[in-house]
């Protein structure tokens, strides 16, 4: 089995202060491997987003360890965490978070610009990423000129343009209709086929179960169940099928 691209070991997190303090995560262990799309499911307030934030180096755990591509985030300050994010993590958000004043190309290029990558090369890579998500013809469009599905594709292009080892998606289909939701999940599943890249999708929508290689259930800050996803089962079936 390949090394995890990101791994949480006994991660606990308390949020808030004083009487309002709550324990959002209670000793979570989770490893995300390359070539795998993991679906993280659970009810509201179960700690999904907190776990996603910790795996994505946005939040530091109160206890436990997170290792990203083998590097521990322990003791890392905000700038060190930012460096880990820009080098190893791509994010896809529920509400896209595109820059309304930038074109699709520039929105994607931004992920490379923050790394200080050469402009011409960054533009070429951004256009390649847009072509990969099927939006080569929309590269000069501004977010408001794009549909919700197209905006999410631009966000996915931004997440993958820097070749991160981990793509973390927070309810990427929640703002989309079924058809667009399926298209986005198909794209993420495609991205997860790269054995060097793991994809974690936080979702409520059970219709996307079929895209998952693994499904992890979280409740009340604890992982309560884990099973192989429909996509993995399909793969298993096709691997076992006797050729006619």
């Amino acid at each position: 089995m390949s090394e995890p691209v990101v791994e949480a070991v006994d991660v606990a997190k308390w949020l808030g202060k004083g009487a309002a303090q709550v324990q959002a995560l209670k000793g979570v262990n989770l490893a995300l491997r390359g070539g795998e799309l993991t679906l993280l499911m659970g009810p509201s307030g179960s700690g999904k987003t907190t776990l996603l934030s910790i795996l994505g180096c946005m939040l530091a755990p109160t206890r436990g360890t997170v290792r990203l591509c083998g590097c521990s985030t322990e003791g890392a300050g905000p700038e060190a965490l930012a460096r880990l994010r820009r080098e190893h993590v791509g994010f896809v958000f529920q509400t896209y978070h595109l820059f309304p004043t930038l074109t699709a190309t520039d929105n994607v290029r931004l992920a490379l610009d923050v790394r200080g990558e050469n402009s011409a090369r960054a533009v070429a890579k951004a256009n390649d990423a847009l072509a990969m998500v099927g939006l080569a013809h929309k590269r000069d469009a501004f977010p408001l000129e794009l549909s919700g599905g197209e905006q999410q594709r631009v966000a996915i292009a931004r997440a993958i343009v820097g070749q991160p080892s981990t793509v973390l998606a927070d309810e990427p289909t929640a703002s989309l209709d079924g058809e667009n939701g399926n298209a986005i999940m198909t794209l993420l599943a495609e991205i997860a086929k790269d054995s060097a890249r793991g994809v974690l999708v936080v979702a409520h929508d059970t219709r996307i179960l079929r895209f998952a290689d693994r499904v992890v259930h979280i409740e009340d800050g604890c992982i309560v169940g884990e099973r192989r996803g429909d996509a993995a089962l399909e793969k298993d079936k096709s691997d076992c099928a006797v050729p006619s």
Binding site: M58, R83, R85, H97, T101, L102, D106, R109, V114
Partner: protein
């Protein structure tokens, strides 16, 4: 090109009204600073006009003389003592003082008399546009500047008036010799100046020393100081500095001008800081997204500083254009606003500094951004 400039410019132009308000704030703030500092320079120049136009290597004056307009007097003996000192080629007496100009049509007006010996020079009128210096030997002849014709109730060569009960006639007209006070300069001969100001015949206000060719001015000054008692001996540059210092700082005028300039800077800084802060607040989601996708704090600070610099450059260009109009409009007034290349450069860097300082509040705000907020908005 990095996206920093594009992000900054589009953030600014996203809310055009606020951008216009920012630029207007910068323009008026910098214009105020330009006018104040321009007036400071103009004032500094105009208070030394007479010293600048005198043909003197050294000025001998009564001790403690604060400025050119200080009408204390020296004895003629001092002049002869000075002339006996090695290295002194000439010690031209100059008499100055206030007098009352009686207008032929009635009424009086204060004037400032400047009298020199026409043969020895010293401090003679310049920029003559009518009449001649030689004409000043004619009894009662004076030279006045044409910008004061209305006040003096004259209309050119041949016009008559009265000073201290003596008839005077305009025989030479100058252009651009203006006083920073409302008192016009009236040039005449040494003796007539004494008569107009009530100065004794053996007295003079200054002795303007020309050193012999090849003599060292500083050595001559040392000798003059050693041999003359109860006088100050200053080079033209020193007298200029002393006069400027008296008028600008002794009277508080310079402080007032600087205080105005400082106020302009403070107002500009507050306006730019306020608009940058609110702009940053409006784009806080975008800055949080930048942080979430891994941008460094410095990258975000650069975006904000770039916004400040764009505002500064546009604001400065407009302010400089308006400043040049103000310079042109005041060029022929008693107190012109002066704009020099150095002042322009200083103002440009002041504008940049003001806008960058203004960005601090916005930078502090984004420094506190928690990237996790992208999941909740």
């Amino acid at each position: 090109m990095s996206l920093i400039y594009r992000l900054a410019s589009r953030n600014l132009l996203h809310d055009r009204l606020r951008f216009v308000a920012t630029v207007v704030g910068i323009v008026f703030s910098i214009l105020l600073v330009t006018v104040q500092l321009g007036l400071y320079l103009g004032f500094g120049r105009i208070v030394t006009t007479m010293i600048d136009h005198a043909s003197a290597d050294l000025w001998i004056m009564p001790p403690g003389t604060k400025c050119f307009e200080d009408p204390s007097t020296l004895d003629e003996r001092t002049r002869f003592q000075a002339l006996s000192i090695n290295g002194v080629a000439q010690a031209a007496p100059v008499v100055i003082g206030y007098a009352e100009w009686r207008i032929p049509a009635g009424g009086t007006f204060p004037v400032f008399i400047v009298g020199s010996d026409l043969r020895e020079g010293g401090l003679l009128p310049w920029n003559l546009v009518e009449g001649s210096l030689e004409a000043l030997v004619i009894p009662g002849a004076v030279a006045v500047d044409r910008s004061y014709f209305d006040r003096l109730g004259v209309d050119g060569i041949g016009a008559n008036a009265e000073i201290r009960g003596q008839k005077v006639e305009v025989r030479a007209v100058t252009n651009g010799i203006r006083s920073f006070t409302t008192t016009p300069y009236v040039f005449t001969t040494l003796d007539r100046a004494r008569a107009f100001t009530g100065t004794a015949a053996n007295k003079a206000t200054y002795f303007l020393v020309r050193v012999t060719p090849g003599a060292d001015v500083e050595s001559v000054r040392r000798r003059l100081k050693a041999n003359l008692s109860d006088v100050d001996v200053l080079t033209a540059a020193e007298f200029r500095d002393r006069s400027r210092s008296f008028w600008l700082f002794g009277t508080g005028a310079g402080f007032a001008l600087f205080a105005g300039a400082l106020l302009g800077m403070i107002v500009g800084t507050v306006i730019v800081a306020q608009t940058l802060y609110s702009s940053t607040k409006d784009h806080i989601n975008e800055f949080a997204t930048l942080r979430a996708i891994g941008s460094s704090g410095i990258y975000i600070h650069k975006v904000i500083i770039c916004q400040a610099l764009i505002s500064a450059i546009i604001g400065f260009c407009l302010a400089a254009a308006m400043g040049l109009l103000a310079v042109a409009a005041t060029a022929n007034t008693a107190l012109p606003i002066v704009m020099t290349p150095t002042l322009t450069l200083v103002l440009f860097f002041l504008t940049l500094a003001m806008c960058v300082v203004s960005a601090i509040a916005a930078i502090l705000q984004v420094t506190r951004i928690d990237p996790v907020m992208v999941f909740t908005r």
